[in-house]
Symmetry: C2
């Protein structure tokens, strides 16, 4: 089998896709983007072709090294194991546990509750309140945890997988008009992250599939 | 600091707690259980003492080696890194990616949508339908993925972290009366898992806090 450039199936606005785009940028991995528009044509993730690729009908999915991986954190852990530089998990197992705890808090405890398919089920009139409730509840916990783990970034002074989850989740919070005043640590770290090149180039407003009116 | 036995904050019925109990049993780690009753006293996870321990107000949390870790998969990854025998992640990075993909599919894609706090928000009359929808949607994808990854267990013939997520999620499916007929691979693997000692002793019906009428 010929193995070419990795292919990322991505949607510009998907926070989980953004996590992986940051990892690819940080690790300087050249890749192609295949845009999967989650709202056009009734949702391109429901197409037969895409379902065969990722039965969860979600982005991101990454074709790499002859395999296809779904689930953003599984993708990032694979990249970390096969392209370890720069590292996205600290050396110390206890710090690694903190990174994974923060990552999972966002990836299992916040994002799934405010993703597109759940909000559809909740119904248009309740979406905003539902999403705000999921995010503030998670951020209340996250702020408290980060106060003991954070340095410049989520865990100490090195960018880690936790930061790859944080910035996209804060962007979602912005979209859902969550007041970030009660979260000074989250806000401070997010600001530091957005100043980094890898977070900049991977940002939703700079993707091949970003609509012109949302580009920056 | 004196470091004693690990302490697991657990609720007998919590599927995420069960994941960790299986890991502890497989790795033969002696531990104490502190029961956190998620329904008694308005939810003991909301007590000030427990919130200080795990700001997410969720079980499980594990006190071990002088730190406290929340989030079941972060706990299991820590146990794997510090107590590697028997291994719960294969050696091969591609197989590890499959294990993590299946684990995350359940831990981020299914369980959070049918956990207690979400079902409370959904309201009593809609709970069953909501939970069934979350589980069948996830199981449709999982069945398809397992058909290409599974051997005797979720990924090949060795028990892995993915299996620690599978059996508890199938138990939740049972509780929510999900018809498992369309999921022969899931059902077959689950049956093999339940026959294993570590899954047996850690089962919700055999915990210190299991109510007498639910014990087996």
């Amino acid at each position: 089998m010929q193995v070419g450039k990795p292919i990322l199936y991505s949607y510009f606005r998907s926070s989980c896709s953004w996590r992986v785009r940051i990892a690819l940028a940080l690790k300087n991995i050249d890749y192609e983007t295949v845009a999967v528009n989650l709202t056009k044509d009734g949702g391109q993730q429901f197409s037969e072709g895409f379902q065969a690729l990722n039965p969860m009908k979600q982005v991101p999915a990454l074709k790499i090294d002859g395999i296809t991986i779904g689930q953003s954190l599984a993708i990032i852990e694979y990249l970390e194991e096969t392209r370890p530089t720069p590292r996205l998990l600290p050396r110390d197992p206890k710090k690694r546990a903190q990174v994974r705890m923060v990552s999972d808090l966002i990836a299992s405890g916040i994002q799934p509750l405010q993703n597109l398919s759940v909000l559809k089920q909740v119904g248009q009139e309740n979406q905003l309140t539902w999403a705000q409730q999921a995010i503030t509840s998670g951020f209340n916990a996250l702020e408290q945890i980060l106060q003991s783990t954070a340095g410049r970034y989520c865990v100490g002074d090195e960018v880690s997988m936790a930061d790859l989850c944080l910035a996209p989740q804060v962007a979602n919070a912005d979209r859902f008009k969550v007041d970030l005043t009660p979260y000074p640590t989250i806000s401070r770290i997010n600001k530091s992250l957005l100043a980094l090149e890898a977070f900049h180039v991977s940002h939703p407003c700079r993707q091949p599939d970003t609509p012109p009116e949302l580009r920056a």
